[in-house]
């Protein structure tokens, strides 16, 4: 349990790194590192490690930690954009939101009716904090790449919550879920590529023709 909580604590710290940095490469790196940490977690969590657990771990670490960040970096280089300028929610306010959110997540998780074996774990607060971080990035940033990172961190939070169930539900479903999520981001990555070709700026603020 202590090893797991250490990993989750690190992942929660990376949330704050992602919220506070203006350079896109460091957001991507933080997201990638978080993905790798998430990949290690099932190995620490399960006592008897079968091939299914190993498969989930490897797929998570590869997908969230290597493949998607690689795609994001490619998109970033293609568009010659390195920085997030003029976000909707500034970096300091985002950091404050993230810090307050982390504290709130710890408080909320205590009041949720958890099973005794999960009560001491940081899984639920970690999940809530990551979802909140993802949400702040998703709505607070204007560059498509930061938004995709936000979406990824949001999904990481959901994955953390899903780890509560890894012992009881068939892993088949978990693996399918994982695959789908990865593909989802993959498609978003392709779209980013397309938007860049169509708009040459990766600035979602320019996506304003369609409104009522």
């Amino acid at each position: 349990m202590r090893d797991l909580n250490l990993l989750i604590g690190l992942a929660m710290g990376l949330n704050l790194v992602a919220l506070g940095s203006s350079r896109l490469p460091s957001i991507i790196r933080a997201t990638a590192l978080q993905g790798v940490l998430l990949g290690i977690m099932p190995l620490v969590l399960e006592h008897d490690i079968g091939w299914q657990v190993v498969a989930v771990a490897v797929a998570t670490a590869l997908g969230k930690g290597v493949v998607i960040p690689g795609l994001l970096q490619r998109a970033m280089r293609a568009a010659h954009i390195e920085r997030e300028i003029e976000p909707f929610i500034g970096f300091v306010p985002s950091l404050l939101l993230g810090a307050l959110g982390t504290i709130a997540a710890l408080a909320v998780a205590r009041s949720l009716p958890l099973l005794p074996e999960h009560a001491k774990s940081l899984l639920v607060p970690g999940a809530l904090a990551s979802m909140l971080t993802g949400f702040v990035l998703l709505i607070g940033r204007v560059k498509a790449i930061s938004q995709v990172c936000g979406y990824l961190i949001f999904e990481n939070g959901i994955y953390l919550f899903g780890l509560l169930l890894i012992g009881s539900t068939p892993l088949l479903v978990e693996a399918g879920v994982l695959l789908d999520l990865t593909v989802g981001i993959f498609v978003i990555g392709i779209i980013v590529d397309r938007i860049q070709r169509a708009f040459d700026s990766l600035d979602t603020r320019k996506l304003t023709v369609l409104r009522e």
């Binding site: 949001f154 959901i158 899903g162 169930l165 539900t169 369609l210 009522e212």
Partner: protein, 480 residues
């Protein structure tokens, strides 16, 4: 096995389409698969198979009550698609045809999913598979619509996964064995942890509600329907939203078994009325007839949500409305696609006098307007009447009043746009662009067929369908 063929045939068709060499003959795969799919689902409707209670997939009463409609809609769209893709021969159709077939296969899987996880995977896969369809036109506006669809839809689908996890945790908390089929979850009943069931319901309503396009999660809809080809709009409005709706019905049954049915019904009623109100207001303001259809779809999703909150009688009415709305919307989307193509614009500031330029499509469009605004004797009139009766029976008088007021406002909004498009004297630019468009049989028969079916559904609702809706309502509300 027959039920699995509904999924396998289209997916195999998608594979064939991806490998098929000729752009000219590839679109014919669509009606071929569409015919097989329709025949299979009618056969299954007439002779339903026995579904094992613990099965993860199966043509159960809920699937039987809805899937034949999706099949019918796809059949009409597949015929239209041949004519449409011939007109758009300048764009390759390999991806379009393959993904359209994949979408219908995955929709069939989603409707038949009896397992929380399988249902989510199918819905997620449909969401992703629809992406290439949305930006088929390749314009910057289409990319913008696709981006919004992905961000909003992606968040929605993520929330529904989180909701599924919470429902799984509710089961685990209650000592569940980890079996996440809806049957097993409902069998746990009051043993499910109530707080987690409620959290799960809120998240699943938000998640699948986004996919359905309930307000305030509907923001992707006008953009997507406005920029995508008409067939895609028809399939999204009649097929994809339906998967999300049956998903909510199945989850609602579990929440009901856990003893929180009344709470779930209240939220469904509130979000349904809110959707109808938002849609009615936007319908009064929109100046684009394809976006108008999107708001009309939001309105009808609201009606479905209200009906779903009214117990077994309401669910019967809701399933009836799924059919009548799906068929009517299909006719509207396809006929408006003809008008859009002939006029080369979808804005009522630029398009008028289409009764003179595309007389037959305009006729279907106007008849479709009356059908979708619940004029007798079309299907929507009878299904909405049932919804009103169910609501009165449950004593929701204020809700009925709001419901009728929204219908009236929506009628004003819709008729304002439709008659602006149809009446008047066409602009010279519209006359010039409409010369390049011929109202072929392939572009007219599918919407006419769907409209005729909507009329038929209203006048002579087949007993087999009535029986299937009753059976589905009985599955969702088992007698104690």
């Amino acid at each position: 096995m027959r039920a699995l063929l509904l999924i396998i045939v289209p997916l195999a068709g998608a594979l064939v389409a991806a490998l098929w060499r000729s752009d000219r003959s590839r679109p014919w795969l669509l009606p071929a698969v569409g015919t097989v799919h329709l025949a299979l689902s009618i056969w299954l409707l007439a002779q339903p198979p026995v579904v094992a209670p613990a099965a993860w997939m199966g043509f159960d009463p809920v699937a039987r009550a809805v899937l034949p409609l999706v099949s019918l809609l796809f059949f009409a769209c597949s015929i239209y698609a041949v004519a449409y893709l011939r007109l758009r021969h300048e764009r390759g159709n390999r991806v379009f045809v393959a993904t359209l077939l994949a979408v219908i296969g995955l929709l069939s899987a989603g409707h038949q999913a009896r397992h929380l996880g399988v249902l989510w995977i199918a819905t997620e896969a449909v969401t992703l598979a629809a992406v290439p369809l949305l930006h088929f036109n390749g314009t910057p506006r289409a990319f913008e619509a696709t981006w919004k669809y992905l961000l909003v839809g992606g968040t929605g689908i993520a929330l529904s996964l989180l909701g599924s996890f919470c429902l799984g945790y509710a089961s685990m908390h209650g000592g569940g064995s980890g079996d996440l089929t809806f049957v097993a979850l409902a069998a746990q009943g009051a043993a499910l942890s109530r707080p987690w069931v409620l959290i799960a319901w809120v998240l699943l309503l938000a998640g699948y509600g986004t996919k359905m396009g309930l307000a305030p999660m509907h923001t992707w809809k006008p953009d997507a329907y406005g920029e995508a080809p008409g067939i895609v709009g028809a399939l999204l409005a009649g097929g994809v939203t339906t998967v999300a709706f049956t998903a909510l019905l199945r989850v609602r049954a579990v929440v009901g078994a856990a003893g929180e049915g009344a709470t779930a019904d209240r939220t469904l009623l509130a979000i349904g009325l809110f959707s109808m109100g938002v849609a009615a207001l936007f319908l009064l303001g929109t100046r684009n007839f394809k976006r108008m259809l999107a708001y009309s779809s939001v309105e009808h999703m609201g009606i479905l949500s209200i009906a779903a909150s009214l117990g077994p009688v309401g669910v019967f009415a809701a399933l009836f409305h799924v059919w009548s709305n799906g068929l009517t919307k299909g006719a509207l989307f396809l006929s408006s696609a003809n008008i859009r193509r002939a006029a080369n614009s979808a804005s009522i500031d630029e398009v008028r006098g289409m009764a003179a330029l595309t007389p037959r499509s305009a006729m279907i469009f106007v008849a479709g307007l009356f059908a979708v605004t619940a004029s007798p004797p079309f299907g929507p009139f009878f299904s909405e009447l049932l919804v009103v009766r169910a609501a009165l029976g449950a004593g929701h008088y204020l809700a009925v009043l709001l419901f009728l007021a929204c219908l009236l406002l929506a009628f004003f909004g819709l008729s304002r746009v439709v008659f602006a498009v149809v009446d008047g004297r066409p602009r010279p630019a519209t006359v010039a662009s409409s010369r390049r468009f011929v109202e072929t049989a392939g572009a007219l028969l599918p919407p006419a067929l769907l409209l005729g079916l909507s009329l038929w559904l209203g006048l002579f609702t087949p007993d087999a369908l009535r029986e299937s809706w009753t059976a589905a309502a009985a599955q969702l509300f088992p007698a104690p």
